[in-house]
């Protein structure tokens, strides 16, 4: 049996379009210092470091974990780099938790970051593919046909995406670290924003952000002696599948369904919609909220959009999603998955401030990446399993 693991500290940067005031190392250090302060420990107490970010091409720095070793005070300690595209923040936190659950390390620092303003992330992955047809148009161009597939088969009305976007942007105003603070959106105004990758509107897309997050994880033995709130890791799961294969279900990928089913089984969850208090879900394009509601097994197939329309996922709803404002309000790619995991932990630790869901005891952090093919999730709780 695996040992228990708890989150005892969470720290994140102020996310912004351009953090010209810091280098990548400075950005990462800002999150690390806040996490260590939150955990009330020093860097000397850390046994190992697990760090993740999205493709190195986004900033043009190859293997930045080597360069960052100084800023992380990593000399003499194991450093482990994780890379699973956009889901990397989630996968990185899970690998860090596994270092603890395997009984190898007592205190692990884990970090996710991206400094999008140092490169051109939007198009770094849209270079013409040799021998193919250069019709690709960024992540939006990739995901838009999948959203169209969902709208077609579910019969969802066209305003659902904009509803999700307005909710997340409104929630973000309660999160001091969020990149976008735009309190004045209404559904009417949102629907007037231009179609970028039809059927995806401008309002329904995430920003490009600079940002970092760090978590401090401890073994049960250390966490029991540690004062302060904790988020106990009840279950983790990762699944992946190829980008393309014949008959692939792209709207609700099998790997995502398997990952969620595994999480519920490990966490002893019979009815996710009833038993989970809050979800931090990876929603870089607004339509993915209803799509993931179905993929994760919260809502029945083709019904996720009705939950959005009925306000179920608002902060006051029965299943609040992304009270932090989510990826739609801050997207430092390599950090975005860990922000979901960290925000879920903050909710059950009672540390979410103005965007706290009162009495949250069980929360889920969710991340996906690549062409909807890498999935990472964890279930955290205010009490031990």
């Amino acid at each position: 049996m695996a040992d228990l693991c708890a989150v005892v500290g969470v720290g994140q940067t102020k996310h912004a379009a351009c953090r010209a005031d810091v280098s990548i190392a400075g950005l990462v250090r800002e999150a690390v210092d806040r996490a260590l302060t939150d955990a009330n420990i020093t860097i000397a107490d850390v046994d190992a470091i697990v760090i993740g970010k999205a493709p190195d091409s986004l900033e043009g720095v190859a293997m930045p974990e080597l360069w960052l070793a100084d800023a992380l005070a990593a000399h003499g300690k194991p450093v482990f780099r994780v890379h699973t595209a956009g889901s990397v923040g989630g996968s990185t936190a899970i690998v860090a938790a596994q270092h603890v659950m395997a009984g190898i390390h007592g205190t692990v620092l884990t970090i996710g970051f991206e400094k999008q303003s140092d490169g051109n992330a939007m198009w770094a992955l849209s270079v013409p593919i040799p021998f193919g047809m250069p019709v690709h148009a960024g992540a939006g161009g990739y995901f838009s046909p999948i959203v169209r597939g969902y709208i077609g088969r579910s019969g969802a009305p066209k305003h659902i995406g904009a509803m999700v976007a307005v909710k997340d942007r409104t929630n973000a105003c309660k999160n001091p670290y969020a990149h976008l603070h735009e309190p004045d959106w209404t559904l009417e105004k949102a629907l007037e924003t231009p179609m970028l990758w039809d059927p995806i509107r401008f309002i329904e897309t995430c920003p490009s952000s600079d940002g970092a997050i760090a978590l401090v994880l401890m073994s049960e033995e250390r966490a029991d002696k540690h004062a302060g709130p904790k988020a106990w890791v009840h279950a983790t799961s990762m699944r992946s599948e190829p980008t393309a294969f014949a008959g692939r279900e792209q709207v609700s990928p099998v790997a995502g369904e398997m990952c969620a089913a595994d999480l519920w089984r490990k966490g002893g969850i019979k009815n996710p919609a009833e038993e989970i208090d809050v979800v931090e879900m990876y929603v870089p394009f607004a339509w993915f909220e209803p799509m993931w509601l179905e993929n994760l097994g919260f809502a029945p197939r083709n019904e996720g959009w009705r939950w959005v329309e009925d306000g179920v996922t608002e902060m006051g709803g029965s299943l609040p999603i992304n009270p932090s404002g989510g990826v739609l309000s801050s997207n430092p790619i390599g950090a975005s998955g860990m922000l979901r995991f960290g925000e879920a932990a903050m909710q059950v630790m009672g540390k979410a401030g103005e965007h706290q869901i009162d009495g949250a005891k069980k929360a889920v952090g969710h991340a996906y990446g690549g062409g909807s093919q890498f999935f990472a999730m964890w279930l955290v709780s205010s009490t031990k399993p």
Binding site: A20, F131, I146, Q250
Partner: protein, 165 residues
């Protein structure tokens, strides 16, 4: 070089030139394109046809793809995006339709451009055919096809394939 709040930022472009070894599977596919044909490969286990044959291995069965199979030239749109976003290196006038096209006889769609109709008239299930460039411009690339255009045939009723890859 620019300075924000007295802090220096440098702009440093980087570039890389690659060689790409096609291997036998992609070679027959690329040779087909140079002869105006769509050549895919069949999985010897599940019998599904891959076009392009990608890595030469069936992602479901992990079997090495075997015999050449000619597919198309007509196909059906399984889903699409209307692109209104200008970007670096873009070669096509906006707005344009990037569609997933399931070529007749293939079991996986590929992405290509739809022209010769209004973007708003494009729909899932629409039948399309390739418009090839002049032979003098052909190389080992799907760019040999200028675009796909509607055939005018009745739409194909799409079931599970709708929105699928």
């Amino acid at each position: 070089m620019s300075e924000a709040d007295g802090l220096v930022r440098l702009r440093q472009p980087i570039g890389v030139t690659y060689n790409w070894s096609a291997g036998p599977n992609a070679t027959s596919h690329l040779a087909g394109l140079m002869n105006g044909k769509f050549v895919g490969k069949r999985c010897p286990s599940c019998a599904l046809v891959y076009f392009p044959p990608r890595n030469g291995v069936c992602p479901k069965c992990a079997k090495i793809l075997a015999g050449d199979v000619e597919v198309g030239p007509k196909g059906t749109i399984t889903t699409f995006c209307i692109v209104n976003v200008p970007f670096l290196g873009q070669k096509i006038k906006l707005p344009y339709v990037a569609a997933q096209i399931l070529l007749d006889g293939a079991d996986i769609s590929m992405q290509h451009l739809i022209q010769e109709c209004e973007a708003e008239d494009v729909r899932i299930g629409m039948r399309v055919e390739p418009v090839w460039k002049d032979k003098s411009e052909w190389g080992p690339s799907l760019e040999n096809i200028q675009h796909f255009r509607p055939t005018g045939e009745p739409d194909r009723v799409m079931g599970a394939e709708s929105g699928a890859s």
